[in-house]
């Protein structure tokens, strides 16, 4: 009896926490398709707010995807070889490099954005283009890619693979392309999901780096929260949820599979 009471108390508490997290999200999804949020769902359901968001903010959605994909491209090109080299070399220097590139996780985005503005604010073509935002996103997401790929290298015996390929006469570049990268695929995929998800939602840096012509989705969201009616802001948030949820689910599936594999090892 006492155990059941304790169980019920704990369950109730956890349900309250879950409600705190999920209720506002559901409210916003409902508000985004409600005729008049003040009068509630009885006022009828509509897609007019979603359409309005599309008219007002379609460019921010497209730009966010473009920025995320370019960021992904750069982090792949920079991150995979770096993870390979850092893993192979080991030692104090590699750890120092790893430490430096993971610093952007500790330093607030606002500080990094300010630093980028102070350094490149004068290069007006760069400053005005979406690539300026990409630069910030790369700094912020790169550690996730490098770590995720390095985590796979720690499980696969890269050194032996590399050496046996080498004994067959493969050049370093061919070994990297045909042996190392294929073996790192799980880490590359997990890292890519992370990079794209983070880039799509990044605000702290982007708010400082954007110009009126390079607004991304989160910048547009902040804009709509400040100046649009609640229904439009909600519809816009709904669009963001729809974009981000598949990525989240994919990440979860990945994490589950990785932990199962870990258990089997």
């Amino acid at each position: 009896m006492r155990d059941r009471l304790i169980f019920a108390g704990q369950l109730l508490f956890t349900l309250v926490v879950a409600a705190f997290l999920i209720v506002p999200a559901v409210l916003s999804m409902v508000a985004g398709v409600t005729e008049n949020y003040f009068r509630g769902v009885r006022s009828g359901l509509t897609l007019q707010w979603v359409m309005q968001v599309w008219e007002l903010y379609a460019d921010t959605i497209a730009r966010s995807f473009a920025v995320a994909l370019i960021t992904l491209g750069v982090t792949l090109i920079v991150g995979i070889p770096a993870a390979y080299a850092l893993h192979l070399r080991g030692g104090r220097l590699s750890r120092a490099i790893e430490e430096i590139i993971t610093l952007p996780l500790a330093v607030p985005g606002l500080a990094i954005a300010l630093a980028l503005l102070l350094t490149y604010g004068g290069f007006s073509d760069f400053r005005r283009s979406s690539l300026f935002i990409v630069a910030g996103h790369v700094v912020f997401t790169l550690p996730f890619m490098v770590r995720s790929v390095m985590a796979v290298f720690a499980l696969v015996d890269v050194r032996t693979l590399d050496e046996s390929a080498s004994s067959l006469g493969a050049s370093p570049w061919r070994r990297f392309r045909d042996v190392i990268v294929p073996n790192a695929i799980p880490g590359i995929l997990a890292g890519s999901l992370m990079v794209v998800t983070l880039s799509l939602g990044e605000f702290n840096l982007t708010w400082m780096l954007h110009t009126p012509l390079t607004k991304t989705l989160p910048v547009g969201l902040a804009d709509s929260y400040a100046s649009m009616r609640l229904e439009v802001a909600s519809a816009y948030t709904l669009v963001f949820f729809i974009m981000i949820i598949p990525l989240l689910v994919a990440m979860q599936v990945f994490a589950d599979r990785a932990s199962h594999q870990g258990a089997r090892r």
């Binding site: 705190f20 916003s28 390979y84 192979l88 490099i97 430096i100 607030p108 570049w173 708010w207 929260y225």
Partner: protein, 283 residues
């Protein structure tokens, strides 16, 4: 660009050279877009009207100091509350299997990828002028409870943001606990309270320290939530933003950013040191 072997090279590139080439893109990116800008930021902080003493002003100037204290207190409160909630629910969820558990876990981790601005909007829907809380309290006590646009709202927002992250870490740590330890303690006659205090919490300590540090550092530097809720909440990121954009006091904004970055980095480095050695000792 990915490194390629030099075209037409007669000698095969040695492996050592190739590995170094692999680091080249990283070195360039880190140097150009992180290290040099950070150096520039530190220098800019010392080149305003105040000179180097701009850094001291963070602590000596009453307005900055009050904001710093405010931010630290908020971050500490967020960390304590998040940890308490997440440990309680994390332990519960990992220990019991019941119908609907997977859905509950999914609900608790759903906001994981929400940016700070969206979290701010969630708090507005909960406790803002058209919020749920106001709708519930109006018929009950005759007035609308609205606190989204204040430091309490920000606290709620940081909780919203932090709980999913920490709960996942705690659940993973609970899963790795050795059930034999708990059974041994029970066999020796320890009550549930003593088992939690002396066996379970110490075993979870590395996870608690690590995730607590992340919550603290994030709450110190988060900007999106405060920005959405109100621009006049006295926290460090908002101060930096207003110094930079409204007052055009770029040097002070830079000095404050450097201070904020140092605090956040130090907290994380300390926690890692601590959690790392504990893990090593346990292994």
């Amino acid at each position: 660009m990915a490194p390629r072997p030099p075209a037409g090279a007669l000698l095969p590139m040695t492996h050592k050279v190739f590995v170094r080439l692999c680091l080249l893109p990283l070195a360039l990116v880190a140097l150009a877009f992180f290290l040099l800008p950070m150096v520039r930021l530190v220098i800019t902080g010392a080149t305003g009207d105040l000179g180097l003493s701009a850094y001291a002003a963070i602590l000596t100037e009453p307005r900055y100091r009050a904001t710093l204290i405010n931010t630290v207190v908020l971050a500490a409160a967020t960390t304590a509350a998040t940890l308490a909630i997440s440990i309680f629910s994390g332990l519960f969820l990992q220990r019991h299997r019941f119908p609907g558990r997977a859905v509950l876990v999914a609900m608790l981790t759903f906001p994981l990828a929400f940016p700070g601005v969206v979290v701010g909007f969630m708090i507005i829907l909960l406790a803002g002028r058209q919020g749920l809380l106001g709708d519930i309290t109006l018929p009950l006590i005759g007035e609308k409870v609205v606190f989204a646009y204040s430091i309490e709202g920000l606290f709620l927002g940081y909780l919203y943001f932090s709980i999913p992250r920490v709960i996942l870490t705690i659940m993973a740590a609970v899963e790795k606990l050795d059930p034999a330890l708990e059974e041994a303690a029970r066999a020796l006659g320890a009550g549930p309270w003593a088992i939690h205090r002396d066996v379970i919490l110490p075993a979870l300590e590395p996870a608690i320290v690590a995730s607590g540090a992340i919550v603290f550092a994030t709450a110190m530097g988060a900007f999106g939530t405060a920005f959405t809720l109100a621009t006049n909440i006295d926290v460090l990121p908002m101060l930096i933003y207003t110094e930079f954009t409204l007052s055009a006091n770029i040097a002070m904004a830079a000095a404050l950013s450097v201070g904020l970055g140092l605090v956040a980095w130090a907290i994380l480095a300390l926690a890692r040191q601590f959690a790392g050695t504990t893990v090593a000792a346990a292994g």
